[in-house]
Symmetry: C2
Subunit: 353 residues, 2 copies
DNA sequence: GATATTTCTAGAAACGATTCCAGAAATTCC
DNA sequence: GGAATTTCTGGAATCGTTTCTAGAAATATC
């Protein structure tokens, strides 16, 4: 009947099934399967017949049917808050590369900062029976996420997030040390009024960066001007607005630290509109790199983390857990890189408004 | 027997199947299916029973089994040359968003500039029975690609590529006009020696950009110095090397045009190492934007194309073809944006070496 | 109330693979 | 050569859906 089907099929390339191979080779379907899956109970004659038929028909096993039977889809879901963030894109890229090596494919879902979309993404992945999920959540506090994770049935690796009540592996950057080094550097350069603009404290990333920031002040016996800390969300708009406010107030900071590529872009934009030159009127350190930070003028000092390593490690960790290992936490180091934006001598304070 | 299975199952959340729902509701499996898929031949009483059982068990249909039956996987493959290119990341993002709206998921595969990986990607997608593919090929000339496409059985949309002997939809940017405008602008600023550094002519993108470049010279009755045209590949390394060579030769160009984000980054790097200031020692126009081109100093003039639109259109076009429409070609406009890097007056020619 | 018509439901086949089980064929041994 | 053992092969069940078919139940018609 597979044959009959084929006759009124109009697609250019009829797909050969295992049954076709079996018929062509004159053997049973089960024998074909055994040959192809390398089962030991196969005679040389049988192997030869089947392999010839397979080649002749250009047969390729249907992953869907295999998944149906085995319960494994060899598919991993990757949920990211925003793929247009180049750092995350790099993470996704190296993760995909690593997964491919192990015979897995990656379904990419970008939540674009929307929690409802994020929940839907988890639901879709669950229905697709993915073997595992790697995710970077928008917020750890959202109740939608909690229930998404509760209903999950596949192993999970979280990127830079901390959630209670659910077992997961995690890959986290050591944001504390990099940020502390950066702020220490600024303090050493004589800065005392250091603005810090970044996203929500509802994610580990922000809380750790904040710890690093405070640690540096504490180590130097300095007190913090809480008004200089602006936590909100990771959009350019938020950072632009806050930077604008900070630098058009009476007590203008002498340096600014931005957390995340969106915040960095927003802050640069605001400083530009205020006509404040980075490195000359205000020292600047960015947390998280853009690919061209080292060549733009002035070159931006930054806290760097290896996106490729993060992607690779998250893939490896997930597969480990899928094979039954106990979920563990991997920490990736961050490195403060000194460039021009924080080392030039500032020119005498500009008169604002 | 599904019941027996459940007993020695140790996963935390046993997955309810349609059979479980049917048993719980006391009806036949087919009736459950009919209720859930909105078939008209369903009594109110039946609907109620099934819906209650569904809710009680938290039942969700298995997409795998549905695919098996229907032949549709509701999955689209997206093959990209390099996802860490922010422009491509944006394309992928908006494409995924559009596909999700239509109930499709996206499998992302980055070829990372490697043709063998690219072929493997096509093979994997074929075996996964994706319903369609959107791809940006590394080269139109490679024989591996030709045979990959030949063996394809799903509809295809190509991004910025032109291939013969295979039917596909395409989304292409109008590179000619944007590039022509850019070069015209440079010529109007008095430039005659305009270097052009970009990738291989084995892709439509490069050939069209070259056409635009030549068109502008022709329109102004100027002849081209072929030595200023450097086509190779899209890596930063290539562009850096070529830019370095161009600007350390006796006949230094006064302006440079770069095609693609990699080329732009490489050229900036080279100019920096030669201590040539963009906008002051050399005019600069980039084709394809980085997200921060407008705020770095000097702001870079560029040829812009709407990545979101490209992603969205490619998704729509593919679905159209999947529904039986004849493949067509969509063209997205490009726009030349004048910024500082090409408008500042150049300072007197620097003495090199 | 018997027949014709309509509405609803259950059973079974199918999608394409894997794997268990039983039995056939080949080999060994006496 | 016949029995016991080993090696190999084919049939059938299974995964979780959808959909076809046939028949039961309900309603309408006379």
């Amino acid at each position: 009947m597979a044959k009959r089907k084929r006759e009124d099929d109009v697609t250019p390339l009829p797909v050969a099934t295992m049954e076709d191979v079996a018929r062509k080779a004159g053997v049973a379907i089960s024998s074909v399967s055994r040959v192809l899956s390398g089962h030991p109970d196969v005679s040389a004659r049988m192997a030869k017949k089947v392999e010839e038929a397979t080649r002749a028909l250009g047969y390729e096993p249907d992953i869907l049917a295999q998944s149906m039977r085995s319960g494994e889809t060899r598919t991993i879901g990757f949920i990211i808050t925003d793929i247009s963030n180049p750092l995350f894109a790099q993470v996704a890229q190296s993760c995909e590369q690593e997964l491919r090596k192990m015979g897995y494919s990656m379904i990419l879902m970008s939540s674009n900062g929307d929690e409802i979309t994020e929940s839907e993404n988890f639901a879709v992945l669950r229905r697709r029976r993915v073997d595992g999920i790697i995710a970077s959540l928008i917020s750890e506090k959202s109740s939608a996420v909690k229930s998404s994770l509760q209903n999950l049935r596949s192993p999970l690796v979280l990127l830079d997030r901390q959630i209670s009540g659910y077992e997961y592996g995690s890959v986290t950057a050591n944001h504390i040390s990099g940020t502390r080094d950066a702020v220490n550097h600024l303090i050493n350069q004589g800065h005392r009024e250091i603005a810090f603009v970044t996203g929500t404290p509802d994610v580990l990333t922000t809380r750790e960066r904040l710890k690093g920031y405070k640690k540096a002040f504490a180590e130097n016996g300095l007190s913090i001007n809480e008004n200089h800390i602006r936590l909100g969300n990771f959009t350019e708009e938020f950072a632009e607005r806050q930077t604008y406010l900070l630098f058009s107030s009476p007590t203008v900071p002498t340096a600014i630290l931005t957390g995340g590529v969106g915040a960095t872009a927003g802050a640069i934009r605001a400083l530009r509109s205020l006509n404040l030159a980075i490195g000359h009127d205000v020292a600047f350190v960015a947390i998280d790199e853009w690919p061209m930070f080292d060549v733009i003028l002035p070159a931006l000092s930054s806290v760097y983390r290896d996106a490729e390593m993060i992607g690779r490690e998250s893939a490896r960790l997930l597969l480990e857990i899928m094979r039954g290992a106990k979920p563990r936490k991997t920490v990736i180091e961050t490195h403060f890189i000194i460039r021009e934006s924080s080392t030039n001598k500032l020119r005498s304070k500009k008169k604002l408004n």
